[in-house]
Symmetry: C2
Subunit: 333 residues, 2 copies
DNA sequence: GAAAAAATGTAGAACGATATACGTAGAACG
DNA sequence: CGTTCTACGTATATCGTTCTACATTTTTTC
């Protein structure tokens, strides 16, 4: 089943069929209907590889850091919603939070003629992103770079989100508020969240309690760091974790140490993923509306593929969703 | 940077370069070294789209039902390990547990000239899988069909896994053991787990307590069904959930109802995902070694792509990992 | 040392789309 | 009524590989 078969069946030229396929200029309604009918009849499907040789593949590549953080599922829901009514399809690559793998995936997506790329929570720096963007339309989620001109960015206001957390904790009487962050020199969202945390602490007059622990994402290391933090000389009475998944691990360690949450320790996460709502977690978190982020990013990417050249930076306002893990009152009530 | 540039630089024919690229027969060591040097020097990367026109794209398509179940991350770890040293790359499509979407993704992967497909937890029936397998090498994970001859299957022994659960619960004194299953007429792993549950109950002399509740995966519906189960006239004293994620939701509902786990209610999951270990869950589960499943599946798929025609069916033996959610003794101890 | 076999390399026709350049008919214009 | 537009279609070069068929050289065999 090739474009030639369709052309023959419809009694028109190959070029005419191609035009119909691409919604290109210069096709009468009659011709279009005729060709469409033949395509349906023959159950014709264009081969992306062949299209890719000269034009588009109608495929966008999505790079995810890992599959364990449920937040990415929220984002993908939004992406899929945005793509639903288009002829674009998403193919996902998993970088396992490694920069080399990430670049490898991007390369292999370019080799595979993806029309554009959406990088989520990328750890690349601006230079590398610029290099990619020069080759293919690019949109990032979770990379702050308001000065970027070669690619679009989609974010929530991470600094503000972190400040919301600190403010909420301070209002609820917590003082020794620590932050559990991620070791990753280049992640701009971490930088913003740490900044927000510091600013929040200063504004609450808690500057002297600023305390940031950084850890990789490896489960064992997270546990080790959490345990160290909770058994150290200056045990915090609240921990703000950079993502829900880490918060759940911190809760786990705290429970094992016999600490009561939220009375001995408050824990707050980020992303407001579905796990926060479970009664055994009941985790206060920042909602950055992953679905919205995914939707906007996909929209921007398709616009870019279609030719938009001016850069857009989309920012969502985060909001805090308060649950029991940070509200001692709720437990006594 | 095309194959022609490399050929020119190395002073050989285009065909020679192509042979080196494909590890094809008829290349001397000297030629290979020469060509490889030019490829490195020019930083050449073959274009998958062009390769796809005649040969392989060295890309395998992986179809995942959803991104929220952390079990799939374990599988993907195995897949990536298996692919690491090959020139194959994985591209993932998310079907959102919908049969139409699943078929759509498969179609679009075939359009994109994937060399083979790995379908995980597919809800397709044998007929559809046969149709796919006739077009592309296919391996499934989580689809029992020992009679299948057109594709390979990789599974754990789900029936045995379910029996392990029932036996364990019975030994610990639980009697009214219910099962929380998934509405999905065609999923063979669910059929096997339900069968194992029934057999286990019969063998434990608990036939009259057999009680299977089925629900979709939608969070609200799961909660509703769990609540109905736990507040009904014949409240079970243990619930075996078909996957960890559901078990976590059941624990949540039970906690909200004021039930103590494991004294009022035991909960057991399946897949032994990372969340089971968290202290707030402490969930007994069946380990089916997702990483092993992924590794074997990827290996089988590449073998098939390379030409193996005889079918293989790989089965892992499940083992139970006992935690507090099903051992009342542990809590009093 | 001639014939056969194996090893190594090359030329060039595919693969299935896209997109440029162009032809032709009918409409609009003055 | 001739000219210029516009709308609609077509012919075909092109994209970057693969792979068959073949030519040449080297090795093996008797």
């Amino acid at each position: 089943m090739t474009i030639r078969d369709v052309a023959k069946d419809a009694g028109v030229s190959v070029a005419a069929v191609s035009k119909v396929l691409r919604d290109a200029y210069g096709v009468s309604d009659a011709l279009r209907a005729n060709v469409r009918a033949s395509m349906d009849k023959l159950d014709y499907r264009p081969l992306a590889a062949a299209r890719g040789m000269r034009g588009q593949t109608y495929t966008i590549g999505i790079v995810l850091p890992d599959l364990r953080n449920p937040f990415f599922a929220d984002i993908m829901d939004g992406v899929n919603t945005a793509l639903e009514r288009t002829q674009y399809r998403a193919m996902v690559g998993i970088s396992q939070s490694s920069v080399e793998t990430e670049m490898g995936i991007v390369e292999s997506m370019i080799d595979r003629q993806m029309d554009g790329m959406l990088m989520i929570g990328s750890t690349e720096d601006r230079k590398n992103l610029d290099i990619i963007a020069r080759r293919k339309p690019l949109v990032t989620i979770g990379h702050h770079d308001p000065e970027a001109t070669t690619f679009d960015t989609v974010n929530n206001h991470d600094q503000q989100g972190a400040m919301l957390v600190v403010k909420h904790l301070a209002v609820n009487g917590y003082r020794k508020i620590a932050m559990f962050s991620l070791v990753s020199g280049t992640s701009t969202i971490l930088i913003q969240r740490e900044l927000g945390y510091r600013r929040g602490m200063m504004e609450a007059g808690l500057g002297k309690h600023i305390n940031i622990t950084s850890s990789s994402q490896i489960l064992r290391e997270v546990q080790l760091n959490a345990r160290r933090l909770l058994t150290g000389p200056q045990r915090p009475d609240a921990i703000f974790c950079w993502t829900d998944l880490i918060a759940l691990e911190v809760i786990s360690v705290a429970r094992e140490l016999g600490l009561d949450i939220p009375n001995d320790l408050a824990v707050v996460g980020y992303d407001n993923t579905m796990f926060c709502d479970f009664a055994q977690n009941n985790l206060t978190s920042i909602d950055q509306s992953g679905e919205q982020l995914g939707l906007q990013a996909a929209r921007l990417l398709i616009e870019r593929i279609k030719g938009r050249a001016v850069t857009e930076h989309f920012v969502v306002t985060p909001r805090i969703v308060v649950r029991q893990s940070s509200t001692p009152a709720a437990i006594s009530a």
